[in-house]
Structure formats: C-alpha cells, structure tokens
Symmetry: C2
C-alpha cells in the first residue's frame, strides 16, 4: 500500500465528463490499495474568466481581493470532483488550501508556502477518505486566502507529498511526460523515463513548460518522486528523481538528456562601451530594478578601452529594456545599442556532461557542420546554451537531437 | 455616526455596472460618517449555474460538497465588490462567512447560525474599513463551509446587525419596500412606511416574498430595525420594527396593514370520515412525516358519526399528499377524498385587529357584498385568511384593499 498524491491540471477537469474520468482514475488507484490525496486546479478557463470579471471592475485590483476571487476556481473543482467520486460510492472529502493546513507568507498572488500542517489530511486518510485538495491556494497568518502564482497547483501537490511523506507525486496533464525535445518540432523525440531534478529545472528554464520550476525545487529539496504523466492514458510517464537514483537505475549513461529551445528571446548589444569599472553593474543593476530578467550575458575583451556587451532578455521585456537603456545611455558616451529580435536559444541538458567535458565541443561541432552560426554561448554544469539565428533554430534542434542520439531506439 | 449593515441581493450585483452602482451607494453612505458592513449574495444567476454544474456530475451530491461549491458564489461577489470600492479610494476588506465569525450548526444546505463572533469585524471597522461579508454562508465546528438555505443572505445581514448592535439593517432589493398589496394586481397599492415584525412574518407566509421569514424572526428577537428599500432609487423604503415602536410613531392606527394572496394552494377535502378519536392525528401525522406543510385545516361538526375535513397544502406538495392519502385511505372506511386546485388564499394582516374584534366581520361583509364565496376561514391574532375560488381572487384583493382604505391618499 502506497500513499500517492495525484495532481490534475485545469484541462483535466474542464467539464463534467473530464471530471468523471478523473474521478474514475482516482478511485481505480484507491482500489489498488493506495491512500490517495488528489490536488486539482480550477476547471479549464475559470481562472481567466475570473481575471476578466475583475478587469471589468478595475484595472488595479487589490491583491488580497484578487486572491479571494481566484480561490473560488479551485473550490469549484474540488467540490465537483468530490461529488463525482461520491457518485462512485467512495468515501471522499474536499479541502480548501487553508483547510488542508497549507500555510503561506503574507504576500498575495505569488505567496510562498511556509509550512504545512498535515494533521487533518492524515486523520481523514486514516478514516479511509480520498482527500481532494484545492491547488494553488493557502492561508496566511491573518486568516486570508493567498495564491501561489502561476503553476501553483504543482507546488501544492509536491509540498503535500513532502509533508505527508508520500511514495509518489503524480502530476497529470495532457502530455505523456517529459520528452527529449518538443515532438511537434522533431518527430523522433522520445519520452524520457527518468530525469533528475536539476535537468528538469534546466529544461523548464529553457522553455519546456511541463512542471512549475518551484515545484521541482521543492521536490529536490525533500526528495519527492514526481511522476509526470497523461490524464488521458494509462502509460507510464517520466519519473523526476534525484541524480543518485538515476545513476543507480541507468544501465548506460547518456551525455545529454534533452534538447530545448526558446524562441521568445531578444538580444541586445551595446557596442563600443567605455571600459570603465562598474559600468556593467550599472546597466544590469538598472534592469534588475525594473524587474527585467537578463538571461545570457557576454562581454568581449577590451580593445582601445572599449568593450562590446551582449545580453538576452525575454521578448515580453523588450520594450521595458529599451526604455531603460535610453534612460541610462548618457553614461555610455559614444556607445550604440543594437536590438536583435531574430534570435533563438538552443540548449542541451544532461547530468552526463558533469563527467564528460567534451559535450560543449561536440555541440559546437554539430552546429558548425550544418553551417549554423553561434552568436552567444553560456554554460552551466549540466546545460550548454547557444544563441542562433531564429531561422536556424529548428535545424539546430534536430541536428543536436540526432547527434546526441536522443531519438527513438 | 451610525453603524449600518447594508444587504444587497444577487440582482443588485449581477454585473460589473451594478457592482459599481452598489459600490458607490456604499461609499456614499460611508462618507456621510457611518460605519458600514455590507452583506452580499452571489451575483445574478451564479447559484443556479453552480447547481446546474453539480447536476451534470450527479443527481445526489453530498450536502457538504454542495455547500463548498455554493460558497464560491458569494466569494466572487465580495471580492469583486471590494475591488469596486477600492477603485473609489475607500479602505475596504472582504470576509467570507467563516472569516466574519459566523458560526453554524453541523447541518448542510440549510444550517442555522449558532453564534457570531464579531471581534474581527469590529477591529476592521475600528481601522476605518468598509467590511464586505459573504451572505448565506457560515462555518461549522468541523471547519467546513455551511449555507443557510434560500434567502440566507437576509439572515446573515440581520444576525450581523444584531451581533454588532447596528443602528439599521438595510435590505436592498429591486422593489421599493413592502406594499399594502401587490402593485401588479392593485394599482392603488401603497408603500408601507412602518410595519411590525409580526405583520411582516404574516405577510411573508401569505406569499409576499420581500424578506426571508427567519431573518424577520431574528430581527424581532434582537430588536433589529430593518429598512427594506430599493437598490435603484434613493427613496425611503419600509421600516420593519417592533409593534411598540409603531404604536408610538403612528398618529392614526390602521385596522389592517396589508392584503396578501397566494395562488399556490390546493384544497383537499375528506368527505364522510368516520368520527373516531385520533383519525385526524393519523392523517396529519402521516403528512407531517413526509414533509408536507399543511396550511389551513377545518373540520365540520360530526353528523351521524361522520365528519368532513378540509385542508390546504402548497401546490408543490399536491402529488405527495395524494399518494399519502391513497396509502392511508383504508382507515377512512367509506370516506372520499376530493382535491380542488381552483382555490386561492386571500388574507388581511394588521396589528390593529388585536384591539378591534370587528375586522373579521368586516372582511366577510366586503367579500359577500361582491358575491364572493368563502370556502374556508382561518384566523390568527393579526391575520384573517379566506380560501376563495381562484377566479375571485383578484376581485377579492381589490375589494379588501379598498374596503380597508389601504390605497394611496
């Protein structure tokens, strides 16, 4: 008998028929002898509908009231799902985030879980209940509803799995798991059976949006086994586990686990920047202050006391970044700012590269063989990213996927 | 400076524009120097929409989960209304029923308020907040949401007014107040300025659905002054107060305050029932057991050891009543059951009749003058009801309204 936390996203509970399917999946798992806690998001477009209602009232709603409003979406899911499970003659009870003992800080719309008091859930499980918990929401010490930000239901599920010492945290969605790359781009893409937390984090940061990043961090911290799988099939998905467990389980070790890409990047280059101490700190300090997340940065070696600095930001931040650079440009002297929207980021991710220093060279060779020019490079312990021209992106991903032998066997 | 509880029904908060109107009414009252607690129902058809969602899942939902689901409707109202008030630059906070300290028994879908802990509201008022409270919902000692049954938001408002010792409880709706009779039937109908709790209860019981009956009972018990008025006008409505206050305030005392009617009645007559002790108790005991609410009962004097018994029930209970009478009919011997759907109830209500024994005689005379036959009569201290043929109802109401001089002056 295992204790399993099952999490279902909004698309899995979008209407009555899907609710009933989810109810049958939950009861089937219960009837295998497991104890079940299920975490659900708001049905389908409910959260967007609520945001639209608020927008008709005011463009600047108080965050506390926004959380009160948004919390209703998951309450609709948990009560309806409980009704569907009750109709299958299983003992079931729904709990809001506050009722489930999920306590958060005083922030609103993106609060952080501070503590989970699992006593109530444990008691209800001991009384043979299936326990349905509202994702995304928590209680602060003022007694108010808070919400955990986009993807917060994943976090609820993983944090509950940690607090309950669950055997698995199953995250159900409309995809079969984590893939070596996006199957829409590369048809040879293969579902990954096991991936480490760190790889998953690097994949998420590179545009593969299967799991909320914070939930993976929490899973890593507490050693929660995540199983990412499809609501609409019974196939095994991808297990997200620790690097040690993977090393123990894997027969052959792959250099690279996946190839990711991100078209949503813009490259800024400041040409002929005076080589004065602190000028880079000024630029990136100013951008940080207005909330712009700078991804990659490279700086050329100084020639004639002048430098070039290039960096990438998300396309959403392009305008903000341009305005801020205009504001601080007097300190640049004769430097010029160039913005390039025709770029994309291509990355290879894999814990295998920790012990294999040749991965970067292999990546560059694969790209160069196809005549793909690399505009910027950045590396971490388990990821190498290259900025390439947007028109080269698909070819680059395909080439890397093939070159690192990630395709179907 | 007064403390005012303002209650707005679902039609008053049905869309963004109506929310904004309600927000402006609340802030205007605040800016006159009052402390404000506003109670709101779910917007427009939200509750019906939620019931429909549940119905798509199961025809027999657990009551606890139904309350979890229904509670979301009012949470949507309070958060949106708070946003609208915040947009007018007023300090405001929304509270669910549980957050507002409204504690109920363990029943679901029609729980009863056991206690109100007003500390949180008082603190928030002292900090100069407008406090918006979700109507219809409460917390039980298990920590679950409960709901207070149809019209429960009226009850929330009156109970809060009592707990906070508010100066007024204003109940806003789409009508201007309580009328001497239905203006759609009698165009001379006049808005009543003051009416007693008991009269209001008798009016509600006779089909005039301005206020939930339980809320009037609670107002009477705690001496809460209710002001029933329109959301869409600034005119004074009807004050519902104690009989003593009315006697003090009224210059001329009216015999009758209002005329009510109810088309939703069915008359059963059991003819030639054997005159055996306990047979009436059997019949009405059986009906009570299946939840049929019997309104009027008359029994003829026994002739030849045989009786006739007539009684009325609500049309909704007609089928149930027929089936039950069929079941127990063997004990009736040769008696026959006749069901008459072509009846209506007409009542006059007024505390004035306590000290004026002639009202009943005057009512019968007015009806007989118009050739209207009275089929059944029942009286209480402040109400006289007659069952008449349905086709005579409108004329009867008009005649009584005129005869007791209730029309516009």
């Amino acid at each position: 008998m295992a204790l399993v936390v099952m999490k279902f996203g909004g698309s899995s509970v979008a209407d009555a028929d899907k609710m009933k399917l989810v109810a049958s999946k939950i009861t089937a798992k219960k009837n295998l002898g497991n104890k079940i806690v299920a975490v659900v998001s708001a049905p389908g477009d409910t959260t967007d509908d609520l945001l639209e209602m608020a927008d008709k009232i005011t463009s600047n709603p108080p965050a506390r009231e926004m959380d009160m409003l948004l919390a209703t979406g998951e309450m609709v899911s948990i009560s309806l799902l409980s009704m569907a499970i009750d109709a299958l003659n299983e003992k079931v009870i729904s709990l809001t985030g506050p009722q489930a003992g999920i306590l958060a800080d005083l922030d609103h719309t993106r609060s952080r879980i501070k503590k989970i008091n699992p006593k109530k859930i444990k008691d209800l499980l001991a009384q043979n209940n299936i326990v349905i918990v509202a994702g995304f929401q928590a209680l602060n010490r003022k007694g108010d509803f808070t919400t955990l930000g986009r993807g917060g239901s994943d976090l609820t599920a993983v944090a509950l799995a940690a607090a309950l010492d669950a055997d698995f945290c199953e995250i159900y969605s409309d995809v079969d798991g984590v893939f070596t790359t996006d199957p829409r781009l590369v048809k040879e893409a293969r579902k990954i059976d096991y991936i480490s937390y760190d790889e998953m984090l690097e994949m998420a940061g590179s545009g593969a949006q299967v799991l909320q990043a914070r939930s993976v961090e929490v899973a890593k911290k507490f050693g929660v086994t995540i199983h990412s799988r499809s609501t609409f099939s019974d196939k095994e998905g991808t297990y997200i586990i620790s690097e040690e467990k993977i090393r123990r389980q894997k027969m052959e070790e792959l250099l690279v686990s996946g190839v990711t890409f991100d078209k949503n990047q813009v490259k800024f280059t400041i040409i002929d920047l005076p080589d004065i101490p602190g000028i880079a700190a000024n630029i990136f300090g100013a951008l940080a202050k207005i909330g712009v997340n700078v991804d990659m940065i490279i700086q050329s070696a100084a020639v004639d006391k002048k430098n070039d600095i290039s960096f990438t930001v998300s396309k959403n931040d392009m305008k903000k970044t341009q305005l801020e650079l205009d504001k601080i440009s007097p300190s640049f002297e004769s430097a010029r700012v160039v913005c390039d929207e025709h770029v994309a980021k291509v990355s290879v991710v894999g814990i295998g590269m920790r012990s294999n220093p040749g991965v970067a060279a292999q990546m560059f060779a694969l790209l160069s063989k196809k005549g793909i020019n690399i505009e910027m490079i950045s590396t971490s312990e388990i990821k190498i990213s290259c900025i390439v021209d947007k028109t080269d992106m698909a070819r680059a991903v395909e080439e890397l996927h093939k070159g690192f032998k990630l395709g179907k066997k």
